[in-house]
Symmetry: D4
Subunit: 251 residues, 8 copies
Amino acid sequence: MDNEALRKLLTSVQNGELKVEEALEDLKELPFKDLGFALIDNHREVRTGVPEVIYCAGKTVEQVRQIIEYMLTRDNNILGTRASAEMYEAVKAICPEAEYNPIGRTITVRRRPVELTDSYIAIVSAGTSDLPVVEEAVETALILGNRVEKITDVGVAGIHRLFDKLGVIREAKVVVVVAGMEGALASVLGGLTDKPVIAVPTSIGYGANFGGLSALLSMLNSCASGVSVVNIDNGYGGAYCASMINKLASS
Amino acid sequence: MDNEALRKLLTSVQNGELKVEEALEDLKELPFKDLGFALIDNHREVRTGVPEVIYCAGKTVEQVRQIIEYMLTRDNNILGTRASAEMYEAVKAICPEAEYNPIGRTITVRRRPVELTDSYIAIVSAGTSDLPVVEEAVETALILGNRVEKITDVGVAGIHRLFDKLGVIREAKVVVVVAGMEGALASVLGGLTDKPVIAVPTSIGYGANFGGLSALLSMLNSCASGVSVVNIDNGYGGAYCASMINKLASS
Amino acid sequence: MDNEALRKLLTSVQNGELKVEEALEDLKELPFKDLGFALIDNHREVRTGVPEVIYCAGKTVEQVRQIIEYMLTRDNNILGTRASAEMYEAVKAICPEAEYNPIGRTITVRRRPVELTDSYIAIVSAGTSDLPVVEEAVETALILGNRVEKITDVGVAGIHRLFDKLGVIREAKVVVVVAGMEGALASVLGGLTDKPVIAVPTSIGYGANFGGLSALLSMLNSCASGVSVVNIDNGYGGAYCASMINKLASS
Amino acid sequence: MDNEALRKLLTSVQNGELKVEEALEDLKELPFKDLGFALIDNHREVRTGVPEVIYCAGKTVEQVRQIIEYMLTRDNNILGTRASAEMYEAVKAICPEAEYNPIGRTITVRRRPVELTDSYIAIVSAGTSDLPVVEEAVETALILGNRVEKITDVGVAGIHRLFDKLGVIREAKVVVVVAGMEGALASVLGGLTDKPVIAVPTSIGYGANFGGLSALLSMLNSCASGVSVVNIDNGYGGAYCASMINKLASS
Amino acid sequence: MDNEALRKLLTSVQNGELKVEEALEDLKELPFKDLGFALIDNHREVRTGVPEVIYCAGKTVEQVRQIIEYMLTRDNNILGTRASAEMYEAVKAICPEAEYNPIGRTITVRRRPVELTDSYIAIVSAGTSDLPVVEEAVETALILGNRVEKITDVGVAGIHRLFDKLGVIREAKVVVVVAGMEGALASVLGGLTDKPVIAVPTSIGYGANFGGLSALLSMLNSCASGVSVVNIDNGYGGAYCASMINKLASS
Amino acid sequence: MDNEALRKLLTSVQNGELKVEEALEDLKELPFKDLGFALIDNHREVRTGVPEVIYCAGKTVEQVRQIIEYMLTRDNNILGTRASAEMYEAVKAICPEAEYNPIGRTITVRRRPVELTDSYIAIVSAGTSDLPVVEEAVETALILGNRVEKITDVGVAGIHRLFDKLGVIREAKVVVVVAGMEGALASVLGGLTDKPVIAVPTSIGYGANFGGLSALLSMLNSCASGVSVVNIDNGYGGAYCASMINKLASS
Amino acid sequence: MDNEALRKLLTSVQNGELKVEEALEDLKELPFKDLGFALIDNHREVRTGVPEVIYCAGKTVEQVRQIIEYMLTRDNNILGTRASAEMYEAVKAICPEAEYNPIGRTITVRRRPVELTDSYIAIVSAGTSDLPVVEEAVETALILGNRVEKITDVGVAGIHRLFDKLGVIREAKVVVVVAGMEGALASVLGGLTDKPVIAVPTSIGYGANFGGLSALLSMLNSCASGVSVVNIDNGYGGAYCASMINKLASS
Amino acid sequence: MDNEALRKLLTSVQNGELKVEEALEDLKELPFKDLGFALIDNHREVRTGVPEVIYCAGKTVEQVRQIIEYMLTRDNNILGTRASAEMYEAVKAICPEAEYNPIGRTITVRRRPVELTDSYIAIVSAGTSDLPVVEEAVETALILGNRVEKITDVGVAGIHRLFDKLGVIREAKVVVVVAGMEGALASVLGGLTDKPVIAVPTSIGYGANFGGLSALLSMLNSCASGVSVVNIDNGYGGAYCASMINKLASS
């Protein structure tokens, strides 16, 4: 195909249909177009409902406001993660339809309708303290266009609660497991489902938890097959991976 | 459905079609059947081409031989990982069709035909030293029934080699990236494809590589979305995750 | 016994004493009942004096208040750990008999009388800075129904102080050792008593203490037999283990 | 009592029944006797069936032989841990009744009959690779006089196998959990039993297992109460703690 | 030469041109002069435009003010790093021409003209969050007399943006790469240029970033040759190294 | 000697010079006296000028005030380390002669005259940021009765400054080296003096300093003989060791 | 310039001087040529004396032999690092002029003359145990075309030996410092020269050296400006960086 | 004094008693002499009984033989540490009076008589596995001219054994504590003696011992004052520090 486009261009030059300078302009963008790099970025902007994402942590309120103000000019949906309430106030002033999830610390703007998949992602968590990460994952999955089932507080210390929910978990196309402390839920669920499990370790815990290291190592060493892991507390990343898989499964 | 089976059983007891003791026998297996635990294990044995897996490291040659001898009685396909050449010799003596991949250190036995998916998994690696992990991943993906495209030696230090192969990588349904040292290939590929990337850090390297820790941390901290990570040198695990996704995508 | 219950149920169905739908209802809960999962939770609520526990850290004052308000409806005793004074104020407003241990940061509510064991747990600590962990352990042991002997400030740097208290320590059924810095007290006491020692490393110290890592590693490497370890600063966990043992010993 | 012994001694001196030099001899041992230090060691030798223990790793064959030769003169039972087959051969030459467990790498000599408790210790493990640690724990528990139930290969990746064995586990007085990789079994079992759980992390695994660190951190961060932890691969230590508890519970 | 100076001095003494006491005074400074230690310090003060540097973190506002006040008496250029806005206010009061870079947190005073090199340093960064480190590097490079090209936001997740800037990067004499998270940019650039790359890992990121450790290890393990690394967040250090190289290349 | 005291006591009993009950009282204290445990504590109180020490960090202002109030009743000298200005105010209110070193964060009370040794301790530091640790060491050494020479800002980056001070350093009986960052000063000084060097790593630095770990490891791996190390930032501990040595050397 | 080439090509097509298919062939390689990716690789082969490099560790003797056999067909110089004596024997059989440095474990083949720079690299090391890394650095620097001055055994524990060599070190354009243990030599030399210092930490040492971590952290935290660091034991990498700088300085 | 020497030299030049070239020769060595660097080295050779030390690990048998052969020409005493039996055989061939300590792995050659101090160093160890480090320390202390008391197997798990030896320990001028596992012995002894304690952590242990890290951190965090620490397994270093102190105390 690329070859075809090039052949056509060269033939046009040969035919005199295209001037050298015009062809030159076209070719100057060639390296990226050819390699398809720009495709990703371009089609982000054209495909309905794919949001632009801003990681708000470490930015000032003013910086967040300005970036989102610029994004709004492109009329896309927007997802801001790790956003403070103060940031939300500043965004709301310029975009009244912006919504805030105070637990998940996300700002969402829906300028275009988001159609949800029929299949769904199960987002499962061990304890109530993992909720901020769960909510970040849920908001991400939703704005990326996925149906979501949220199952919370099914840690392995009371494993019967997990079995109660096993049906709904096993019907999902992909499972996101959010767990801190010893992160055993990922292994247990990995053994109970035949769907991909994306494990999100959280920094919940204390002492020898070492900021999420214990859950991270647990999940990487899962004795169950089919478990892969994203960064500590990275609810966004877990949901993004799950969304990719769910989209593949439902297409 | 479970309820249906139970109602039917109880009605049979009520009707006198089933004796109490017979019903009791059936119900004794209920907890697992009901919860579907056993399904996974059972359907492993019935579904054509799904292999039984044995992790050979830390076992004696004799133990490996005995386990595989037992597996052979069930007439399933078999995948042995981290197997020595000596182990293979012992297995070959009892199963002449067993095959050995000396680089990937896998033993494979194909008793039932494995039908490959149309879609494929791209298994991409940075350097030639990563080959053992790559080969383990390839053998795993194949025996699980996936078509595989193997692209090796496209590390980021010579990034033009990667671009040469970008077409075939981007046509895959899921990408397995195998890389040691700084593991940058996962991030670069994560930014160049819109498919899920399963990153397998390897222990290749020296000094501050710390047995694969540098690649592991790199991959977990990938600035590209859509990258999830399995354990260091875990080619089997990476391919298993990828197979789950590829199967979802091709079903 | 389980079999007995099932046989009885089936016979009732056979006899027509129980309708199929009624039996179905009973059986739906079977997997958990059968396995005994729910027993733990259920008997928590029925056994007098066994408290419900809430880990308050990372929760808002309002969340703690609501959870405890709900617990109060079940008329159980309550233990809140890692609770701030502000949390206590909010709880006291809805439950005047709630008590606060400002050093151990525990809230306790005693709705049912707690009968203490005859035998006791010795809770021994190295320095005055370990007191918060000690007090959390003491409050936990007490509300779980154990007699407690608290021995503080007997660190190994002044080992004669420890010998002064050796009599009372050796009469305990189980010893909880709370120590930070180098945590040597666990090893020394492990060699001086023939009772189980539960070691609680604390994050007390500075520099190469690394948040309790030094005491944790020390205790895990104890040259004395009979020492097991819980998480850093986990006074609650240490007392919980000790209570289990003390109850076994006194039953 | 100590005071009584002293008063009696002094009265004997006063009465002339005891010479000053004789009393001096008695008093010279006073500091230890008084403090009870020596009790432990002395009663080891007098109480039937309490073994002397030798940690063989890092010693030469000759050193092990000499130490055991000396121990044999005291006619006690003996437990040698981390012993090579070569060490066993050397010991057998001087003590034909010595036995060797080649998986657990233990040498045991039973010179006095060991009476087992009625109650038992459940020693539960996740995978077959954990067997060396399991066997060390079993041999230790047995020679210390405990009845043992060994349950192997019930890792959480196939959790239904665990439930099959739950009955026998829950009847134990204390549970030793031996698990490598992510060590999730300790948390799961901690939630399924109301007995003390002694967790023994193993170095089984690879990659980010970091020599047992992943299982160790998992177990220390267990979300289930009642779990305490001993050193990595320390089957002896885990069984020793469990024996102390079992003896308390059965006395 | 040193020998020459000494011979001359001794000859002067021999000739009576120099008194013993005068020669003694000269010789007293000999050890340092001879070894050239003092040269560095002395020529700092005499060479135009070489700044004096003060690391402001951990100092009080008053201390910074006093040190800079003293430096001003020597009429040199000054660079203050890790300076707060409050510190700048205090300095401005005594030196109105002082300038402040609020992002890079640098104070600069230019008392002597700084002539920039013809060749330049390329300072390249992955994300906008790395800007504080970038700005510190830029200010350092400028006051040390280097021309600088700043290229920001060219992280590997969107690698086409990097290629857009490749021309200007490759024309530099030395490249400073500032990157957090997985730090892959250093390896990618190392493979795309034949100039020395100084990599500055940043603490940007979260979770398993561990305060910059992931980027640091990545960069140290770079598969591209020609990459060397300075401390985490050390923009000053990276620019200092680059300046040394750029000066060598342009002399 | 102990034997002598015992023989005398027993003889007195035999002679009827001492009653049994009186002898019993004496013997009750025997274990400690005999072993000499209490000697240390007792002679602290009797030897002039030996201070009582209180580690103030982690204590409340009120706790510090009360402890020092109690100490004052024994009329000893007092050293409080890691004390805040607020703590000092509270102490000054009850003890007007108390002094505060705001950099070293020490409170000192001199109730008895402290006679300084003729020989001295050299306390040498690399950078001005190490001053808090230096000052803690100086105050400790002084109140323990040592003459002190303080040499600051002689880091190895400008090694000629160190040589300028080498004379005074080499005349000391023992050298305390306080250094952060890479802690190279300890090795350099270890090679330049034949006196014991006590190295105190500080947490000064940033990035891969990891809270003092870099300096700590440096000092432990010193290529110079005669260097031993205390905990990070432990100026008190370094000076205490040095004082012991200086006292031995000057006695 | 790129534009010029393109314009010329298009004009040739327009003029009919170049057929469409021929132009297509040229354009197919455009993306890489344009971006200059391939330049590096191509000019390696054309520029006299630039070696091809093979990292031999982890490869079999046969693999090394084959790779070098292939390289020989291109008539380039060759550098093999981390090569065993056995590998060298295999290479020598097919290339008699191959040379082996048994300490540095390098194989070198010089097919084209290597012209050395006038300016030189100083390669300085602390102890004799660092020699393998030094020799690897020396061989690398030489075959890359640099004059080298090797200064060994000038560790900071005997700093006068370093001063003896300071003249030759300071005349270099760039200094490579190879040091293990505490790696202080890098900081000391960084303060004594105004040239770039490339620090190579080595794994020489024991105990808390942790495989080179102590020297690595030391060097990263160097208090001297102008020091950058490569991976542990990476003599090749250090020399490569130095060569780049030396070439810039001598061009 | 230095000034005196210089004045004298200059006066001799002035007087014509010394030629310029002769004075130049003298002055060329001035920098080191002046600074006193060389003094250490020189007086090593002149002071009777001070050994030359060679660290044999990582050297070949031939290298060790050659180095010692050279040392023998200077007629000094020699201490070789970490020496294999094979190395000893090679040394013995050229120096029949060489002695070997197979446990401590030391070679010692006594060419000059070593006079021992009256006061002694106590070298105390926890377990028999620490003996290699103890023996290295003992051999070092002896050849450096110290009287030594060796007390082994007094670990804190059986603390009464330690008290038995307390008298001899407390009479020492300085105590070297060698301990692995949790290293608690250093803290316990630190509290029982008023002499400096040099703690040598050993790598004895397993699991979470992490190669001696647990004992190292324990000792650094010792709650007893007066404890300083050397590198893991560094018996030589511990004895060297102790010798410096003992010499100061006995001079």
